[in-house]
Every structure is written in C-alpha cells, then in structure tokens.
Symmetry: C2
Subunit: 347 residues, 2 copies
C-alpha cells in the first residue's frame, strides 16, 4: 500500500516532511495557509499533483480564517489567499489548476451561508486529494498496458505516491504493472540537486517491495548503451498543448538518451497537468532555485565558496522525443495537439 | 600558475589530498610503494596522467627498498612492485604506460651498479612528472586553435592540473586559450558521485581566475538547448585504436547531448592514453566502485539502507561522437585508426 504524503485529520493537514526522508520520517501539522505556502516553497511537499493537493488545503484554511461574511468581500480576500499560494512555485500548473477549482467552487456557492461555504471549500480540498489517488489508479491501468513483462524501467526524480495524493503517476504505472502480475524492476536516477530519486523513489518502492537500483544521473546513458534499460517513464509538471513537457531538470537529457538508444520514453500525468493555454514548451516558466542546493549536498559544502552556479529546477522535453503521454482518460501517442485536447475534454 | 598535485622533495613524494578539496588543502607524504598504491586506490590522487606519475614514484620507491643486487633477482621483485601498483585501478592506461616505461628503463640499465640503478629509476619518475607538464602545454597549444574567442566551454569531471603532473589536458586547452588572449568561460559538470567537477575543476579554475559556473550533471542538456554552450572538452582514461574513448562516467551522455545540439565534442589527452592494442572501446575494462560513493554524499547518507546500487566509474564514448582528439603531437579529426597510430609514432 503506497504512502499518502498529505493527510487531513481533525481539521489539521499533516504532511510527511520530504526534506528529511529517507533518514527521518517526520510529519508536520498545518492549519494556516501561510505556513502551507511556506511548506510548498521549501519543499516539505513537492511533486506537481501533491502541491496541487496541498494548495487546496491551504486555500480552505485561508477561507476558514476570513471574517468577512458578504461574498464579494469574502471572495476578494480568498483570491488574495490563492494568489499567495499560487506564487510559491512557478512551473507546475497543477498548483494553479487546484486553486482555480477552489475559486470556482466558492463562486458556485456564493449564496451559501458563511460557515457552510467554508465547510464546502474544506470538503472540496479533501475531494481533490481523494480524486488524485483515483486519477493515478486510472492512469496506471491505462499505462501498464504499454509495459512488457520483465521490463527494466528507468525513472527520473520522484513521480510517485510522495509526489501525488498517493499511488503516483510514473510510479503509478509501475505499481499497476506489478499489480497486473508483471515482473518489473526499476532503475532510479538520483536526481541532483534535491535527490528525489535517491531519497524518495527508492524509499517508496522499497516499502512496496518493488526492486529498485539507484544510479547517479550521469550513469543512465551508460546503462542504456549496455542494453540494461527497456523504457523510461517520468512524470510532468506542465504539458503544453503541443505535448512539450516540463519536468524535473535532467528529464530532457534522459529523453535524448532514450531516442539515441531507440527506447520508448513515456510521460505519465493527470490531465490537470495539461495546459492547453500554453501553445508550446518555450514559454513555460522555469524556476531557478537557490545556488546552495548545488553547492551543498546533505548539508555538507561540496564546492568552493563564491563559485558561480546555475540551478534550473526543470527543463522542457520536446514532444518529438515523447513516445506517449499517459493520463487518467487514456493515452496520447501522436498528433498531441488534437489528442491532448480530447483527453482534457474527456475529463 | 596551475597547481602541481604531486611534488618530489627531499626523497619524499608529496600529494595534495584530492578527497578533501576544496574545503581543506592537506598534503600527504609518501615514501613507501604500498602506501602510494593505496593513495591511488582511494583517490588521494586521481586523473589518468596523474596516477601515471604517482605510480612511477611508487615504482621508484619500491625499487629503492629492494635488497637483491643481482639484476635478475632485483627485476623479479621490481616487477612485483609494478604489478601491485598496476592493479590499483583498471581503466586508465597511463598507469600501465608509466610502469612499463619504468621497467624498460630498469632493463636498459641492467648493468648499472645497484645504487645507481635505483637513482636512475627515481630520476625517471621525476622525468615522467616534468614531461607530463610539457606534454600538457604542447597539447594545449594545439588544442586552443580549435577554440573560438568568447567560447563557453562545458567540461566534465576534472581533466585539469590536478589530474596531471600540472596544467591539465582538457583544462590545459582552456588555459592555453586564455593565455592566447581569448575570452573563455567554463561550465563545470559537478560529476557525481565523486564530484571532481564541483570540488576540483571549480577550485583550480578559480585559483587561475578563469570564469567557471558549476552545474549538476543533469543540467548540461538544458543549457545546450538554450544555446548557452559552444563546445565540450573532456579528458580521457583510455583511447582505443579506433578512437573510442573511456572517460569518467557521464562523458558518453555529454557526447550524445553535444551531437544532438551540433556542438563540437573534443577529447584532450596525451598519446600515453592511446592504447593501440585495444581495437575498440568494447573491451576497455570499466571499474565498478563501492556503492557507498552513490549512497552517500559529503559523508552524509542520501539513500535508504540496503538499496541496490550501480556505480560504474567510467563509460565509453564511441569515436563517431568525437569531433577531434587533441594530443601533444597534434590533432586527430577523422579516420582515427590511422591518425592515432601516426600521433603515437610521432611521440
């Protein structure tokens, strides 16, 4: 049973602190939307679908604290809450998707009594969390059909239970293949600088007894050249209308390597990750994070004081390198512009 | 003035401990060949040319301790010394090259008095160290002609002064371009797991005031796709007769990325790195090092206890991805089989 990284219990949102895994399992409690925003910004919680879920709880907590009873005044303050949450991380579109959904629910219930409206928003956050797991399971059922028995699958970063409400996108496909009785083994890129692969993907797959081998990011090409990888599955932070996909830094490199070795390269993501307003990947905002993530590792300095650093947190894989995009509504395999629009409509 | 990582003073070989850079600069003293072997194995000293130099001093120290005066008996023991040194690391051919050269010098002086033979061998080790710097400078002069003014050069691992007797191979070309008045900036891959790029390349380029920007290995593809890299230069641990080149793990990936973006990919290495007995790269032995290098970073555990790990220390870049191989005797740019044989003959 895959871990759920965000729980809602007794009016409190509990998050598994992903900065401390795998050496420590610490749960943090949140009841204030500003603290939820800080948790997203500092990566207590990360992964596009999971930060959507966290933001929804943040918005519900923000609504809970608003004193204005007249809807127009309430909604003006609620929009400020949502803006603060939306500004925490720029690349993943699920964050905005979840907040837009919360705002729509508020507007649709503008006539509800003040206290009831607040309850409706909290219920909606819980729904987003629960629905995400179902979405991942549906996505997994579609995706596992692409996976052969015995497949040795490379994944990058963590698109697992920890990156979602639970179950996972890329790792959801892997879990579904295992549940379908297939013999699957995983190779996990460690994914510098934040080491989501080394710290999170290995941890959650080992908890589920799915065989996983850890490598450094720069070893994937060598393993492919030796015939030790059969396909690649990754998640996504934002998919443009034409299929160009933003995902964790290094994903583009893995896609180039997969093409060089004629290996299928699959993207697994809910339709909430598809941004039909974004024509192609060239304008997806790429977050550049603090240089200390690169100059330090495990709290230890690994580079000289004062060295210049680049730290883009994401890159864009062009659609031409993607074999298929797997969603809860089905699979897009070519002509992404039409196929993705249809999958989103089917949502 | 580039650092020299191996010094010979008052009968003692001093090595800059490259495991501790850049946070600590500690010099260790060696007078025993077994300790030199251990220093090579544990990577106090690393880099193909530098371990050749270190092994030559190790052989000279081993010879110094041999009591047998009859040449046949002396040489039998000397060969044992050389075998122990040669077994420390399997991939770099310079190690064997240096030891073969020491054995040849011993054989050529079989008639010399016992004490004089020992001095001749120590002198030869010093010659190998000094010659390596001259070789790098010559290599740099040839190579810098390939580098345009204003070039933004990506390098992987450390093929610098620290990897050689001094000055460097890949970084020697960069130093020569700077000395020729060109405006050069360097992007250094951090080079997990051992972080030669983060720890060593940045450190030695900053000492020489050559602009250097540190990135994680998985960011190179993104920078190339954004047009921020003009060419790649790397060193080599062994070059097969057909031009296939073994170098630090991750080099192959960088070469695939360079080809994808139509960027020149240069290998810089002394002719002692060319192994004409090795027909192609498929049979170059690839060292697999301890899993703790991957599960830990800066002494800190970054992966779950008991996780499976792969840790190949090198990979092979096929000749077809290499734009030119730069040596002290000139540059090979195509038809590597003929060109490399001619460059070795010219040595």
């Amino acid at each position: 049973m895959a871990v759920k990284p965000i729980l809602f219990q007794d009016g409190v949102c509990r998050m598994l602190d992903q900065r401390l895994l795998p050496t420590e399992e610490v749960w943090l409690d949140y009841t204030d939307y500003r603290e939820v925003a800080e948790a997203i910004r500092t990566m207590v919680v990360r992964g596009a679908p999971a930060i959507g879920v966290a933001a929804a709880f943040g918005a519900a907590f923000g609504a809970r604290d608003i004193k204005e009873e007249r809807f127009e005044l309430f909604f003006a303050q609620f929009e400020e809450v949502c803006s603060l949450l939306a500004a925490t991380r720029p690349t993943a579109v699920n964050l905005c998707w979840a907040l837009e959904r919360m705002k729509t629910v508020a507007r649709n219930n503008s006539a509800a009594p003040h206290t009831e409206l607040k309850n409706i928003l909290l219920t909606e956050a819980c729904r987003i969390a629960d629905a995400d797991i179902e979405i991942n399971r549906a996505l997994g059922r579609h995706g596992e059909k692409l996976i052969a028995d015995g497949a040795r699958i490379l994944t990058h970063c963590n698109a697992g239970a920890l990156a979602t409400g639970g179950y996972g996108t890329a790792l959801g496909v892997i879990r579904a293949a295992v549940e379908a009785g297939k013999n699957i083994s995983v190779v996990a890129d460690e994914t510098r600088p934040w080491l989501q692969g080394a710290r999170l993907t290995t941890w959650e797959l080992m908890q589920d007894n799915i065989p996983v081998t850890l490598i450094c990011d720069n070893m994937a090409g060598h393993l492919m050249s030796k015939g030790e990888i059969d396909c690649v599955i990754v998640g996504a932070d934002r998919i443009a209308a034409n299929g160009d996909t933003a995902n964790k830094i290094g994903t583009y490199t893995v896609a180039v390597l997969a093409r060089e070795h004629n290996l299928p390269f699959y993207v697994a993501a809910p339709t909430s990750t598809i941004d039909l307003d974004m024509e192609d990947g060239s304008r997806i905002p790429i977050e550049e994070r603090d240089s200390s993530e690169v100059t330090h590792c495990g709290g230890h300095r690994i580079a000289p004081q004062g060295v210049m650093v680049r730290n883009p947190a994401f890159d864009v894989t062009p659609a031409r390198l993607i074999t298929a995009i797997i969603t809860e509504n089905g699979i897009a395999q070519s002509d992404y512009s039409t196929a993705l629009a249809n999958l989103v409509k089917g949502a």
